[in-house]
């Protein structure tokens, strides 16, 4: 942890404040919002992958839960959108808890397999239950309302998402330096050692996994509310891989790496939009090359290179 972790946060907050003045049109504002949403998800996922050392290959499934909760619950059952967000988060958290409890008792990368399975099952369910979810074509999402005030469009959502991002970064910084965070890092470093000093390894892994699932779900709801529409792509295997790529390329265990990874890899599909097959190839190449040449990720590698440790 660098000596001045808040410098980056201040910088990002400043950038976020000034960005709307600089961005030429709403296409870029939309891009910025998507980057910020991904950054928050990746921060949560990084807790799991980078600190607890566990890999989730189905995180898009949790995003889907939040997104479809925000779509289906208000539409079919008349729930208030805010309640739907909470319900989605609780459902995602509960699912994560149920899944992880038996898995984390095992050694090795069984979580990867389990989350892979879960993610695919969620995707298939969403595609099949058309009456609830609109099936492969997706469905519209009623916007967030407070009384008669409706939150829609990129302006309000930009500020909401920007605040969420700043808050998430701040919370992550605090978390990592706290005893909880230290125990997490110890767990990653040597599970046996952490057990022996009294860390309840099972409970920690569980907590981190549930937290990251709930973050993903909430951001899924945010995405759904912002875009106004959800499709099953939001919860598919490729999306899960994209998220893992963002963690990995930015730097496993690096807060600012998560943000950087999210920014870069949200922009990339836009740049490659017309070259569909190439998008897949480039993603794959990035994954491979960064793991081979920069296994620690961009931010930690650059930090070590320039000796700053930021």
């Amino acid at each position: 942890m660098s000596k001045h972790p808040y410098r980056g946060l201040t910088l990002i907050a400043a950038v976020l404040l000034l960005l709307p003045l600089v961005l030429p049109n709403s296409f870029y504002v939309d891009l910025a919002i998507r980057m910020a949403i991904n950054a928050v998800i990746v921060l949560g996922l990084n807790l799991l992958i980078g600190f607890a050392g566990q890999i989730s290959l189905g995180h898009a499934g949790f995003i889907g839960i939040g997104a479809y909760a925000s779509a289906a619950l208000p539409t079919h059952f008349g729930w208030h959108p805010l309640l739907a967000v909470v319900a989605g988060a609780i459902a995602a958290g509960a699912l994560a808890a149920v899944l992880a409890r038996p898995i984390f008792r095992l050694k090795g990368h069984y979580l990867a397999m389990a989350t892979l399975g879960l993610g695919i099952i969620i995707n298939i369910v969403v595609r099949n239950e058309a009456a609830l979810t609109g099936g492969p074509d997706g469905m519209a999402v009623p916007p967030m309302v407070f009384g008669s005030f409706e939150i829609s469009g990129d302006k309000p959502w930009y500020w909401i998402v920007a605040s969420l991002l700043c808050f998430s970064i701040w919370a992550s910084i605090i978390l990592i330096d706290s005893p909880f965070g230290r125990a997490l890092r110890a767990l990653h470093g040597s599970e046996v050692a952490s057990k022996v000093v009294g860390v309840n390894v099972l409970r920690y892994k569980l907590t981190v996994f549930v937290m990251s699932a709930m973050f993903a779900s909430i951001m899924g709801s945010v995405t759904a509310l912002y875009v106004g529409f959800v499709t099953p792509n939001l919860a598919d295997f490729f999306h899960s891989i994209e998220l893992v790529t963002m963690v990995v390329i930015g730097g496993m265990g690096s807060i600012y790496g998560s943000v950087l990874g999210a920014v870069l890899l949200t922009a990339l599909p836009q740049a490659l939009a017309t070259f569909e097959g190439w998008e897949t190839v480039v993603f794959g190449a990035i994954l491979m090359l960064s793991m081979i040449f920069m296994p620690k990720g961009l931010v930690p590698t650059l930090a070590a290179r320039f000796g700053k440790g930021e």
């Binding site: 095992l106 069984y110 389990a114 994954l287 491979m288 081979i292």
Partner: protein
């Protein structure tokens, strides 16, 4: 009743054979390196797609099939040299991500080269269905089962009776010990990738006349083969075959008797059940760590 059951059983073992070959591929690589090769599915896809490409180019079935097995094997070798060997001592997470990256690259390249269409191969010995106790069995199914059985026997012979095979087994039990007795473990790894790819490609070729192929056919086939390997016990060859077949059969039964729209979900529900109740699989052993 019986006819229906047999029908599901036949289609289950048929596709299960592809899963079994994929599972064997996973097991081979896992044994020599503890890497879970997420690109295995793409080898299956390559087999089918290349076979289609070569036959459409007029090369004739036998030559096309040979090329469709050899080329993926070469791809496997390249992948091992380029992506796996440089990072030998890396964390498991790193290796998993590399193989996922490789699968994306392969899939993307095929998508660019051959497009997003779905293709088929002519059945090897015609399309005349065979009637067995009221159920229909396609001749291609017999090819799939027959060839798979022969391949499994050959592999058994290879591992049990040849020096190279035993060297591979030794590497899987204890890599360091194997190196100390002079086994070229890098060579073993190299070979295991080639074999894995060839097995996968073969499975892909055999199944294409029945289930067709496309640039993204590999994802599900690979993942389901992986479920088969875990079900049988990651690391066990016999487990891989049994596991793969079981996954195919259970999938078919589930689709037939419970719900066909959730057919693709069956193997993944299965893997969750395995991990919850018997993570070492049917034939896998328990491992203890020395501290």
């Amino acid at each position: 009743m019986l006819a229906e059951f047999l029908q599901f059983l036949f289609s289950g073992i048929t596709v299960g054979s592809t899963y079994a070959l994929a599972a064997l591929g996973f097991t081979l690589i896992y044994n020599s390196s503890h890497v879970i090769n997420f690109a295995q599915g793409e080898f299956i896809m390559l087999g089918g797609m290349l076979a289609v490409y070569f036959t459409h180019s007029g090369l004739g079935l036998p030559l096309s099939l040979v090329l469709a097995i050899v080329l993926p094997a070469i791809v496997g070798l390249v992948m091992e040299k380029v992506a796996i060997e440089p990072v030998k001592g890396a964390e498991p997470v790193t290796l998993i991500i590399i193989t996922i990256g490789a699968s994306l690259v392969l899939r993307g390249l095929v998508q660019i080269w051959l497009g997003k269409g779905t293709f088929s191969l002519p059945a090897f010995s015609g399309e005349q269905p065979i009637n067995v106790l009221g159920a229909t069995l396609m001749p291609q199914s017999l090819w799939v089962l027959g060839v798979t059985a022969v391949v499994v026997l050959c592999l058994w012979y290879f591992f049990a009776r040849t020096l190279m095979g035993k060297a591979m087994l030794a590497t899987s039990f204890n890599r360091v010990a194997a190196e100390l007795v002079g086994i070229n473990t890098d060579g073993v790894l190299f070979l295991s990738f080639a074999m894995s790819a060839a097995l996968g490609a073969l499975g892909g070729i055999l199944i294409t006349p029945i289930t067709l192929t496309s640039y993204d056919a590999g994802i599900m086939l690979g993942l389901k083969g992986f479920v088969g390997a875990v079900l049988g016990g990651l690391g066990s060859g016999l487990g891989a075959v049994v596991g793969g077949l079981l996954v195919g059969v259970l999938e078919a039964m589930g689709a037939g008797y419970i719900s066909s729209s959730y057919k693709d979900a069956m193997p993944f529900v299965l893997i969750l059940l395995i991990l919850f109740f018997r993570p070492s699989g049917l034939f896998g052993g328990k491992a203890t760590d020395r501290v």
